[in-house]
């Protein structure tokens, strides 16, 4: 094959795709299936986007690339942190550098060495971007200007305005005025520890249902119409001596009256002037923006935070996801137009984010529905799958007989109705201890703040991982090497088959030790135990950051009502190819060898899978 086109549709669920295929609702995917085949593809332990796509890219289990979760922990401080990348600064005089924590040799590394070009767009864990023969645009892992996954800002004239999760709030006073003076909240100045700002003026036009944002940015006057996502505003935050940071931001006017409510997206890196490199070559992001228009550069771009916090509604969220899908498609078509040979990969994240926020509408009894229901939202996911199918169709137009087309998802999807407080379970079963003055519940805080490490043998951080407080590894470890197997066995035995007493259903299908599912040089960084939840269950919200709430179970009442971090066997992804392939045991580790084999390049030494083409 001269070319391989890989389209990732994050989170596409086989149990939804298959009936739709059979009902003729996904004609282009059906074409691919007819030309080659379809199978369910095994996902990773755990079934998480950065883990799964890293395995896709390297062809190794997570023990080979080192990404085991969104969240990793530091055994010296016991603190959680983002697992995808970190920043290092060799001395105070060098600028900080981003370091990708996904290691291993990727399929594009192997191709580059063999002289075959690749274009890789928005693959998770490609930040900072690799040196690739070809082009790369970083995906999940790129921060917003505040350094996180995305912190939006909500402007409101309401009397009481409290910040909800992961957002900034700015109080504004309208007082019958036409113009409000306010500011855009920018990055934190590391030295003064206050937020950098750009001053803006909001001209209110209630009769025209719009607001105009005036500033020193570009454009100087930005029109924001109610109910529509505004175009991009480019701003510069100044700090210190002649130093400035560029960013792009867009707005959604929720309402002008009676209260003023304006939502601002997280501030993304400007494609042509990112704070840290997001493309390879470094000019590529700017060039792409000039060709297809300014685009979201942050690793997670869908405004689920705004929806989760109730700042924007489902319609606004869907509209924004639609824009993201459209801009991603423009990137895809621009690159496919000039794809001569080699590998082309692009990931569409939106199906995953849509399913997280709309799954609850398929389940009338979902705690997040609050007893209500919403008929027009029940088919949102299927509608979105259809849009993705259209995109596949447009991609297929660029495939000739020398092109292998692969469409796949990294994992499936399921319900998230009940959260499990793993640390509290460990506390109640004597594996974890709190200091005498602390108790489970909100006062226990998060970040394992009040844990008495001298009496703690295991703790949970992240989305389903349990770590042993191991002597010689953790700073205050107590579990001796000789006791490890016994502690693991005890936790396994205790958690497996755990039933949710309120629902009388199985919550935890099993617990696996990392050695059972991982191999390779980086296994030492993985949690010692992985919890496999049953459908509907997941690590609770507080558990990921080391909280110890009251009780073992809680209802998930957030709008983020669907998820997939459960037993991986329950959430395989979908795999389509336009050539016949052996699909019965297909796994994500097989994709890299398949791509390499199609392009005539020997597979990488560490790759564990096999080429699937028949």
């Amino acid at each position: 094959m001269k070319r391989v086109i890989v389209i990732g549709l994050d989170g596409l669920e086989p149990k939804i795709v298959e009936p739709m295929l059979n009902a003729g609702e996904l004609p282009h995917l059906a074409r691919v299936r007819a030309a080659g085949g379809y199978a369910r593809v095994r996902t990773t332990f755990p079934a998480q986007t950065p883990v799964a796509w890293s395995t896709f890219a390297t062809g190794t289990n997570p023990g080979g690339h080192g990404i085991f979760d969104f969240i990793r922990r530091n055994p010296v401080t016991y603190l959680p942190d983002i697992a995808l990348n970190r920043y290092e600064q060799r001395n105070a005089f060098l600028p900080p550098k981003a370091v990708n924590l996904r290691r291993g040799q990727t399929v594009w590394d192997v191709l580059s060495e063999a002289g075959v070009p690749s274009t890789i767009i928005r693959c998770p864990c490609t930040y900072p971007p690799d040196d690739v023969r070809g082009r790369m645009l970083s995906g999940m892992g790129v921060p917003d200007l505040r350094g996180g996954f995305g912190t939006p800002t909500f402007y409101s004239s309401a009397e009481k305005l409290d910040a909800r999760e992961s957002e900034s709030v700015v109080s504004v006073a309208t007082n019958g005025r036409d113009t409000i003076r306010t500011h855009i909240v920018g990055p934190r100045n590391p030295q003064t520890r206050s937020d950098l700002r750009v001053d803006i003026e909001l001209d209110l036009h209630p009769s025209a249902n719009k607001v105009v944002v005036r500033s020193e940015g570009q454009p100087r006057a930005l029109e924001v119409r109610q109910g529509e996502w505004s175009p991009w505003l480019r701003v510069k935050f100044k700090f210190g001596m002649l130093q400035s940071v560029n960013g792009i931001i867009r707005f959604y006017l929720v309402q002008l009256e009676p209260a003023f409510e304006l939502y601002a997206s997280p501030i993304n890196f400007a494609p042509d002037a990112p704070l840290f490199p997001i493309s390879s070559p470094s000019e590529y992001a700017g060039e792409l923006a000039r060709q297809v228009g300014t685009f979201y550069t942050a690793g997670m771009v869908e405004d689920h935070t705004g929806l989760n916090n109730g700042r924007i509604d489902e319609a606004a969220y869907l509209a924004q996801c639609g824009e993201v899908l459209a801009e991603r498609e423009r990137m895809m078509l621009h690159e496919l137009d000039r794809l001569e040979r080699g590998l082309f990969f692009i990931l569409f994240d939106t199906p995953d984010r849509i399913q997280h926020m709309f799954w609850r509408f398929r389940e009338p009894g979902h705690p997040a529905n609050n007893g209500g229901s919403c008929k027009e939202m029940t088919r949102v996911i299927e509608d979105h799958y259809r849009r993705c199918d259209d995109i596949v169709g447009r991609a297929l137009a660029h495939a000739d007989e020398d092109t292998l087309c692969i469409v796949l998802s990294d994992h499936g999807f399921n319900s998230f109705q009940r959260g499990v407080h793993l640390n509290t379970w460990l506390l109640d079963h004597g594996f974890l201890a709190l200091r005498t003055d602390a108790r489970a519940g909100t006062e226990a805080g998060d970040f394992l703040r009040h844990v008495d490490w001298s009496r703690t043998r295991a703790y949970a951080l992240g989305l389903g991982g349990i770590y042993l407080n191991l002597r010689g590894r953790e700073a205050e470890g107590v579990v001796a090497a000789t006791e490890v197997e016994q502690v693991k066995a005890a936790i396994k035995h205790g958690l497996t088959g755990q039933v949710d007493p309120e629902r009388a259903t199985l919550a935890i299908r099993g617990v696996v030790a990392r050695e059972e599912v991982y191999s390779g040089p980086l296994v030492g960084e993985a949690p010692d135990l992985l919890v496999n939840f049953a459908p509907g269950y997941r690590s609770s919200w507080a558990t990921a950051l080391g909280g110890v709430p009251l009780g073992h179970f809680e209802d998930n009442v957030k709008k983020w009502g669907g998820d997939h971090v459960i037993d991986p066997k329950l959430v395989p992804g979908v795999l389509f190819m336009n050539r016949r392939f052996r699909g019965d045991k297909a796994s994500l580790v097989d994709l890299a060898p398949t791509i390499l084999s199609a392009l005539g390049v020997p597979k990488g030494q560490a790759m564990e899978g096999e080429a699937l083409l028949a």
Binding site: I71, R90, F93, L94, G147, G150, L242, M300, H356, W541
Partner: protein, 488 residues
């Protein structure tokens, strides 16, 4: 804590601070303190670098410029070299306390100074091929292996061949920095100081294209950005130096004086002739340097050596061979001449603002043979021309070749170090304060011979333990995880 001193000869604070495009200099400033640095009188490379390194003024060192009178005989001028200044320098104190120091190109360091480490001769080295200009001697071979022929200066930098001059300056600077990086990485050092002379040469060669206020400024010249670009080049080299530093290093960027435009040359000996103080047997038909003039010493009271500043010498009875001025009249004469010099005007009759200094008033001690007066014509906006035959007091051309700028009294410094107690812009810092400051930061004793005061006096914290993990660390983690929908 190790100490690295990056000397940029003639760096001007106006061109270093708050200038776009100098991100590495700025990073240093943000990690420490910076400001204008008042130089010595006269603000000249020799003795200013040694004044800084010894924290002693020119009078105490007994060196008042490159050329100094070696006796009271007329015309007995000697060129300063490393043997002229042997006072206790910062690297000597470092050695006294058992640590190692490297000095590269710190004027004057030919013949090479014997340090507890490596020393490489400065721009006064006559011939790097023939002379031993390094200590130990083998270093010369290592340098040759690294960069081939090692240019200590751009000979003939006062030239009209500007493209050639620019290329030579860059070639020299690149080689210098390569040698510096090599020894930063591969040698054992606790104190490391080097001086890059290229910046001084670039200023002298290209100032008029850069400064719109220069009388000979040519707008739209292709050389308009040469100086700005060289500062950017230095910024890039600074970044490369950062790459080879370890964590526990204090970094000082410093200059011995600043730079400013030249408005013209003041022919000081012509002026003395006109004032009747300098008497020649014969006024020369063409422009003649002072040394070649036929001076009537029995009638002459005052003569001068030119340069960026003027050294004024009196013909004193019982001191000079054919002295004329009586010793009892010396002070009154000196004060009156000072007043006359301060009243000098430019070619349009406007007061020049000339500054005149008496050595005994500005130095702690006066050793060797000091000039009787030191003069900064027009506050150094005017050179002093020593030759006679111009038939004018004010001229535009320089007697030693095209040279667009003079030295300015204030240079610059940026000092950054882990847990340095000083932050932001510092005013009132003087060149002589540098050595005591560095020694105190490094935990060394400050010898009593040093005249300046430490800028961190009593405040330097040595080996402060890293603060325990605080709320800040958690805050940073929360920021990093903010917006990750999978968690709350």
């Amino acid at each position: 804590m190790k100490i690295l001193v990056i000397g940029l000869d003639c760096a001007a604070p106006e061109l270093l601070f708050g200038v776009a495009g100098l991100s590495n200099f700025r990073r240093l400033m943000e990690n420490g303190c910076y400001g204008r640095l008042e130089s010595v009188i006269p603000p000249i490379t020799v003795p200013a670098w040694m004044c800084m390194s010894t924290s002693q003024d020119p009078g105490s060192l007994g060196v008042y410029g490159f050329r100094n009178r070696t006796s009271y005989a007329y015309g007995d001028l000697g060129i300063a070299n490393s043997r002229s200044i042997q006072e206790l320098a910062i690297w000597d104190q470092v050695a006294r306390e058992g640590k190692k120091a490297n000095i590269i190109g710190v004027p004057p360091s030919f013949p090479p100074r014997k340090v507890n480490g490596i020393s490489v001769g400065c721009f006064l080295t006559p011939d790097t091929k023939a002379d031993t200009y390094t200590h130990p001697a083998e270093v010369k071979d290592e340098i040759a292996a690294l960069v081939g022929e090692y240019p200590v200066d751009v000979k003939g930098f006062r030239t009209d061949r500007k493209d050639w001059l620019k290329d030579q300056i860059y070639d020299m600077s690149r080689k210098h920095f390569e040698v510096v990086r090599h020894y930063l990485r591969r040698s054992d050092w606790d104190y490391f100081q080097f001086v890059e002379i290229g910046l001084d040469r670039i200023h002298h060669g290209f100032w008029k294209y850069h400064d719109p206020k220069h009388v000979q400024h040519e707008p739209g010249s292709p050389y308009a950005d040469v100086i700005r670009d060289y500062y950017r080049y230095l910024d890039m080299e600074l970044g490369r130096i950062f790459e080879v530093l370890s964590d526990d290093t204090a970094v000082l960027v410093v200059s011995d004086h600043g730079a400013q435009r030249l408005d013209g040359g003041f022919c000081v000996n012509e002026w003395l002739v006109r004032e009747g103080l300098l008497v020649l047997h014969e006024y020369p038909k063409t422009v003649t340097p002072f040394a070649k003039l036929s001076v009537n010493w029995e009638k002459t009271k005052v003569w001068s050596e030119g340069g960026y500043y003027a050294r004024i010498f009196f013909n004193v009875k019982g001191r000079e061979p054919s002295g004329v001025i009586d010793k009892v009249d010396y002070e009154e004469f000196r004060d009156e001449l000072q007043a006359r010099l301060e009243a000098t005007v430019d070619d349009r009759g406007r007061p020049l603002g000339t500054l005149v200094f008496q050595p005994h008033e500005i130095y702690k001690t006066v050793r060797n043979i000091a000039p009787d007066l030191i003069v900064h014509f027009g506050g150094l906006y005017w050179r002093s021309i020593g030759g006679v035959g111009y038939r004018a007091i004010h001229v535009q051309e320089n007697d030693t070749g095209p040279d667009d700028c003079n030295h300015a009294q204030f240079g610059a410094f940026i000092l950054a170090a882990p847990s340095i107690p000083l932050r932001g812009e510092i005013s009132g810092a003087r060149l002589l304060d540098i050595a005591p400051t560095l020694l105190e930061l490094g935990g060394y004793d400050v010898p009593s011979s040093m005249q300046g005061r430490s800028l961190v006096r009593g405040r330097a914290s040595s080996n402060s333990a890293a603060p325990p993990l605080s709320i800040d660390e958690e805050e940073i983690i929360r920021q990093r995880l903010s917006g990750l929908g999978y968690i709350s």
